[in-house]
Symmetry: C2
Subunit: 283 residues, 2 copies
Amino acid sequence: MSQIIDGKSLAAEIDAQTMVETEQLKQNGITPHLVVILVGEDGASQIYVRNKERRAQKLGIKSTVIKMDSDTTEKELLAKIHELNQDVDVNAILVQMPLPKQIDEFKVIMAIDPKKDADGFHPVNVGRLFENEIAQTPVACTPQGIMEMFKKYQISLDGKNAVVVGRSTIVGKPMAALLLNANATVTVVHSHTKDLKEITKKADILVVATGIAHFIKADQVKDGAVVIDVGMDRDENGKLTGDVDFEKVQEKASFITPVPKGVGPMTISMLMKQTIDLTRWSV
Amino acid sequence: MSQIIDGKSLAAEIDAQTMVETEQLKQNGITPHLVVILVGEDGASQIYVRNKERRAQKLGIKSTVIKMDSDTTEKELLAKIHELNQDVDVNAILVQMPLPKQIDEFKVIMAIDPKKDADGFHPVNVGRLFENEIAQTPVACTPQGIMEMFKKYQISLDGKNAVVVGRSTIVGKPMAALLLNANATVTVVHSHTKDLKEITKKADILVVATGIAHFIKADQVKDGAVVIDVGMDRDENGKLTGDVDFEKVQEKASFITPVPKGVGPMTISMLMKQTIDLTRWSV
């Protein structure tokens, strides 16, 4: 039986620390300011943006949401970002993805001042991460939150066999970089991988980010593995669940994250922490 | 018995193409110009720089070597790079590593205009590589040369199990990114890895960049594997050799690169090709 990693409690701890640091900055006359740009009417995006806004307000971080029409041109969005880059009152900028199809997402990511890159997706920040030169560098929030979990639960990574399932820019690739920087042996598997089970079964650390409900079953997991589930999926009854078959896998894993209350709550907390970091680094 | 990948011939083919493209640029009034900065008196670095200069001259590429004293300050070097960044006559800049210890190598890499980054080491270029957004992006020359070998010998990568031994910024990490972008399953192993043999024995594609002579023996290689040896080591008799025990491993591999005449000759050829690419992209 495994120990369940309590993402909700850890997120609350991080929030408490962020609140203290926000207050300290304010006492020095600096109000950290996160600007989130939402283009269009995507329902999920609206919820994500609202959650970020609420969390920022709760922690004392100034938050501005800029809503732009779904027919916004790329040029208009880039002009808005340029304006925010120049604005000394803005410390962190996040453009909620996905964007309407007339806009090139990578161009948008490239346009954000790397020093205000709340998501850590700008290639110069990604490059610094892969070159293990991460002083004053924002890093993707989800894998950063997972690293906090390893730290909190004293899970050692050095020399461990880590397998990352999924190779997205948001989770899989930065996760691989962070694990490699922590001296784990890292394998990235994905939709083209053959014999996936043979590889996941060797993982001491297994991070799953496929977006497919219950993609990882107990027979794909090593006894005593640490299993991190990044999924936010719906099961056949519409209930929120993860990429891992939690009920069965928890019988084999040494540590496991649940869904909900696992990785999910950490991501927003890391975004808030990163907003404070960007603010401090800019002073 | 394996097929030997002839890096020397392939490098000559690439050079021939680069020469044609250089001539075309010149006919349009553009002379590609590579500037190499050499700081200090390191013997190996002097040879590398001379080889680059000669190759450039042979292919019709304008080449300038700037020699700076070993007591050059970081500030002086950064000022020189800034000057070259501004110079419209310069298309590609390379600072020969290693640098004297008073100079922070990463700061130097960060200072080079990413659009003139001959080595492809600037984090914004590294980040683009990892985000698989490599249009008009320079990429580290050694792994790029290895990708040319795969292409030339029609070695498919999609779904293959690729293992990269070594995690340097120059070879291991960009190699991992290129293999992942080509849909291979990628594992990066390094000095902290346990059970290295168990992992290398599963590799369909094995790229070795450890700098340790004959680090990989036949019993660590799968039958039919493609083995790429990035090493440039000296054996006990001072003879140039690789990271792979070539004599024994060639009996198991399907393809193998020799040392010398394998990966080595490709690196300078890719640097010249990249100089031309940077020139074309800047027009």
